[in-house]
């Protein structure tokens, strides 16, 4: 409702302009357009994710509410970082949720002890998660392949168990940590007794939203979302730079042939460790942002299923591709939050137009796949992607693009012209 947020919502066509050949922030052609594409997606997400008018039957498929949009970008960051390790070096970590959790705990302590401003909290999250990943990586990277995965998994489960039990004074144990009005924030003024502390960015509260009503559509522009989105764009930009840099090439070389790398005078260990720490810091950033949005942490954030989820996101979207992890994260979070809310009465509503017996039949068939059964749908989709599209959703997109291109070429009268057009596109 404040002026700042309404501005954030009003920025629309501006960022599209600087995508020129000369390069956007040092990026070349395709990478620059990719960055602009992702920037547009995130900026316009409140519109794109809310295609159905409120009150309509389809409204439950709308994902344009702040809570979910924040999750899209935050888990996007998590997956982008994971992909720098897994996609480039091929080292499959099964314990990245530990860094997310450690980042969250560090972030909330910064809010408890220093200030409610999110910037110090996020910085602290990234640094602490980076240090923790340095220790875990230094030990785990002594092994590769499945042994590396097991070591990281062990570390994550250890962290989870510790946070749940022994470290209760720091982590709050089962109840987790919340902000309290009596926390000793040394940089902030005291809060009145009984008030709920809210995270802010120089006074702008994360929960602040500006609502735009357009006909029967309702679009919500949320301050927290745009701050998280800005972080994701920065994270995405950095990932592109890493992918294209000599450092990124060395990481791909590690995945391809460590033997040759060793006998080319290059030591793979520091490269993999650097990649591990960078991806740990990305996880810390995601953890810090989660805390900034909901100001609470629990140990379940570090449970192994959370580590598994980021692996799913990366593989589902396309490991080793730039945009893949972002797509995968969005896809899984959408499933988790939308498909899981479909209940029996919703289904009955859908099939109401059918004769009674048939409707019951369809409801019975579909019911296990929605609501609490959304994991089943996700599992089947994941299997389908791994079997038919080992390159993930990105490969699916590429296949569709190839088919479309071939169709267009086939329908063109002169083959020469089509070829020329293809050249121009490349």
């Amino acid at each position: 409702m404040t002026d700042q947020t309404s501005n954030a919502g009003a920025v629309r066509p501006k960022p599209a302009a600087p995508a020129e050949k000369t390069g956007l922030f040092g990026l070349r052609g395709k990478d620059a357009s990719l960055l602009v594409f992702v920037a547009l997606l995130t900026l316009l997400a409140p519109f794109i994710l809310n295609p159905f008018p409120t009150g309509s039957a389809m409204a439950q498929f709308n994902a344009g509410y702040p809570d979910l949009m924040q999750r899209f970008v935050i888990f996007g960051i998590f997956a982008i970082g994971f992909n720098i390790l897994f996609g480039l070096t091929g080292y499959l970590s099964f314990g990245h949720a530990a860094f997310l959790g450690v980042g969250s705990y560090a972030g909330i302590w910064s809010m408890k002890l220093l200030t409610l401003n999110v910037i110090p909290s996020i910085v602290v999250s990234v640094i602490v998660a980076g240090l923790f990943s340095l220790i875990v990586g230094w030990i785990s990277l002594r092994r590769s392949g499945i042994y590396f995965s097991i070591l990281t998994l062990a570390f994550a489960m250890m962290s989870y168990a510790l946070a749940y039990s022994v470290l209760t004074p720091i982590t709050g144990g089962e109840t987790g940590l919340q902000l309290q009005y009596f926390d000793p924030r040394i940089l902030d003024g005291e809060l009145a007794a009984g008030t709920t502390p809210r995270a802010n960015l120089f006074g702008l509260e994360m929960g602040t939203s500006y609502e735009l009503r357009f006909g029967s559509w309702l679009f919500t522009f949320n301050a927290g979302y745009y701050i998280a989105a800005a972080c994701m764009l920065a994270a995405f930009y950095l990932a592109i730079r890493i992918f294209r840099s000599p450092f990124g090439m060395m990481l791909r070389a590690v995945k391809s042939n460590q033997q040759r790398l060793n006998y080319t005078g290059i030591s793979p260990k520091p490269y993999t460790l650097a990649a591990f720490v960078i991806s740990g810091m990305y996880a810390g950033l995601a953890g810090g942002l989660l805390v900034a949005m909901d100001t609470q942490v629990g140990a379940e954030r570090m449970f192994w299923t959370a580590s598994g989820e980021v692996v799913l996101m990366t593989i589902l979207g396309g490991a080793g591709t730039l945009i893949g992890p972002v797509l995968g994260a969005g896809f899984i979070k959408y499933m988790e939050n939308i498909v899981s809310t479909i209940n029996k009465s919703t289904l009955e509503g859908w099939f109401a137009f059918m004769p009674d017996g048939l409707a019951d039949f369809f409801v019975t068939i579909v019911y296990p796949f929605v609501g609490k059964g959304w994991h089943l749908t996700l599992g089947l989709l994941f299997m389908a992607v791994v079997i038919f599209l080992p390159g993930g959703l990105v490969q699916g997109g590429q296949k569709i693009a190839t088919v479309l291109r071939r169709d267009r070429k086939g329908s063109g009268l002169e083959p020469g012209a089509a070829a020329k057009r293809k050249q121009a596109e490349d």
């Binding site: 070349r28 000599p246 030591s267």
Partner: protein
């Protein structure tokens, strides 16, 4: 004093004596071949030179410096490059990228985290890699996936990658094993060309006598983990001990 000095090297694997009392001196600028029947310890010796194995006894020094206890990448940075029996290249990368990695290793050393700037904008490295590819007549394959090339081309690329580091000593482990005659001859020509255009020492382990006798200036024959003889190719050809080791013939035959 040679560029590579191996003194009294011994290596055991449990009860198996793989190498014992190996002495070898490779003269700078020469092509030195190590031959011997299967199980003679040729590969074990080579692995001791590049740091993959550490000998139990003896010393190995390159240009007067000991290589013992150093890791493979450190030994490589000293100036020793190795070509493997089956070509070891970066299969997932393009030929050009394969070529750029040794160029980077030469310039930036064992580790450098220069995430700033795109790889393909690094003029110096791109030019050096392109120059090397032109030299090896592979420039037309620069955009190819390295894994999709023929075996002969993979071998050529691997040798090119080794040369891009400008090593003083090039070690080749049966470079023509499993190759067709034509590819073998191409490899021989390539090595001859390299030898004639560069100040490099080549040490080659080989099974194929045709390759050995067309390249080597000096030959060491290894049998059962010890050097049998070391001499020029002409003398090795007729040497009774060599015939015995290879063919199991008695020297009087």
């Amino acid at each position: 004093m040679g560029i590579l000095e191996v003194k009294n090297v011994g290596k055991r694997f449990g009860g198996l004596k793989a190498l014992s009392d190996v002495n070898l001196s490779v003269k700078e600028g020469s092509v030195h071949a190590i031959i011997g029947p299967n199980g003679a310890g040729k590969s074990t010796l080579l692995n001791c030179l590049v740091g993959k194995l550490i000998p139990d006894t003896g010393s190995v020094s390159f240009e007067g410096q000991s290589v013992l206890g150093r890791k493979p990448h450190e030994i490589n940075q000293m100036g020793i490059s190795r070509v493997f029996q089956t070509p070891e290249i970066f299969g997932d990368l393009t030929v050009m990228e394969n070529m750029m990695i040794p160029c980077l290793a030469k310039r930036d050393g064992a580790f450098s985290i220069s995430a700033y700037g795109a790889m393909m904008d690094d003029r110096e490295i791109v030019e050096r890699a392109e120059h090397m590819l032109e030299d090896m007549r592979m420039i037309d394959k620069r955009h190819m996936h390295a894994a999709s090339m023929s075996r002969g081309d993979k071998r050529r690329l691997e040798i090119a990658m080794c040369l891009a580091q400008e090593p003083r000593l090039l070690l080749l482990d049966e470079p023509t094993a499993g190759m067709a005659r034509a590819d073998t001859n191409n490899t021989i020509d390539l090595l001859k060309e390299i030898k004639s255009t560069r100040p490099i020492t080549i040490c080659i382990i080989e099974h194929d006598m045709h390759v050995v006798f067309s390249l080597a200036e000096r030959i060491t024959v290894l049998a059962q983990g010890t050097p049998l003889v070391e001499d020029t190719p002409d003398r090795i050809k007729g040497h009774p001990k060599v015939r015995e080791a290879y063919l199991g013939e008695s020297s009087g035959h």
